[in-house]
Homo-oligomer: 212 residues x 2
DNA sequence: GGAAAACACGAGAGATCGCTCGCGTTTCAT
DNA sequence: ATGAAACGCGAGCGATCTCTCGTGTTTTCC
């Protein structure tokens, strides 16, 4: 009994159980159902039974793939984050300081708004005031990196400004973006695009006097 | 048995039960406790037992004064709204069109920020994404009147602008205010005041090009 | 002083939710 | 083919929460 017998370890950290194709399909199915339920009822009010029902499986099946309710949100969040990085990873970071501010802001806003429109559950998970422990940490981490990116983008424009002021300006920009995102998500079609334009206006007019 | 026997009406609409001074004191006590618990845990996660415990009374006593949990939030919200009207009723409405925009915006922001800082539960109740039926209606009503006020304030400055655009501008202003309020409440002392100044800057720079 | 009403208590009924467990079915490696 | 492991089911356990009820105390009114 040498070969594969260390399978007996009771509470191993992570036993990345062998999955069949069927299992992977179920996981995707369950995550999609969870996204739908989270969007309509929020995280806390969403019951695991409701998620299972939405996915057309039994509660027991759900817990075959997720140890608990929070893990569903975590996994959903991580998949969204990785898609975000994959698609828009360079939306903020590598900006040529010679780029006009208008162009940089416009591009960043367009990319993030587009992502959030295609994945409305992202806003629900990251903005909901009812998120639990680990998810809140993930939210704080995302917020911190976002602030850092905006700071990095702003600093070249504000050479002789105290760091604390730059940070505050970045916080204000992200706050404006969140408020704008809420308005954008609340509308559709032409009206939605009008709000996108307004959001860009707010950011540009707020920043314009600073970068001269 | 003629006189006061219609007391037997089973499910009378509103039986404004006679209250003793002790009862009024308990109600105030319970609402204060509820405000505290709502602030720290949010509405949904706040348990009625926790509110009773915070107030130093039994759960039964709580239900002597409130028919259900939602009624506590409703009453709390109504008292806050009436205090808001009493103290800052004219914060937005009767503005002389000759007043400089800077002054009007600054005064309105100062008043509302001050109110929200003194009653942080107001933000929790009105911004929480986990609020129930009746409370959400109250929130919508407040939002609608707020938008209306801002529209009224904006219209004289924007004579030849389509109504839809004015409304959208008002929505953006209120959205900016909410985002700023969140940042202001998250900080204290000197930093808080710096965020108040930034909020005013954002609003003024957004509106300035429109009113020329 | 005495009856009625308001106030206060706290155990627990009733409902919901997260999650488990035992057992049957399907899939896969050998 | 066959044993093992992954998958699937759904009743129900245990914990929690809202709200009730029976009982006892204080206040008010005459």
């Amino acid at each position: 009994m040498p070969a594969k017998s260390e399978r007996t370890a009771k509470e191993a950290k992570e036993q990345p159980r062998r999955r069949q194709a069927r299992g992977e399909r179920r996981i995707a199915q369950l995550l999609e159902a969870a996204a739908s339920v989270f969007c309509t009822t929020g995280y806390t009010a969403a019951s695991t039974n409701a998620i299972a029902r939405e996915a057309g499986v039994s509660p027991g099946t759900l817990y075959q793939f997720f140890p608990n309710k929070e893990a569903i949100a975590i996994e959903l969040g991580e998949r969204l984050m990785s898609e975000m990085r994959r698609t828009y990873g360079e939306a903020l970071a590598p900006v040529d300081p010679a780029t006009p501010l208008e162009e940089a802001v416009g591009a960043a806003v367009d990319r993030f708004i587009d992502f959030n429109c295609r994945h409305p559950v992202f806003y629900t998970l990251m903005h909901g005031s009812d998120i639990p422990g680990r998810m809140a940490e993930e939210h704080d981490a995302l917020h911190a990196t976002l602030i850092g990116r905006v700071e990095a983008l702003l600093t070249p424009f504000l050479p002789d400004t105290p760091a604390a002021d730059v940070r505050r300006t970045a916080e204000v920009c992200v706050g404006i973006y969140k408020a704008g995102l809420e308005l954008v998500l609340a509308h559709e079609g032409e009206e939605r695009e009008a709000y996108v334009r307004e959001l860009k206006n707010v950011l540009l007019r707020y920043l314009a006097p600073l970068v001269d």
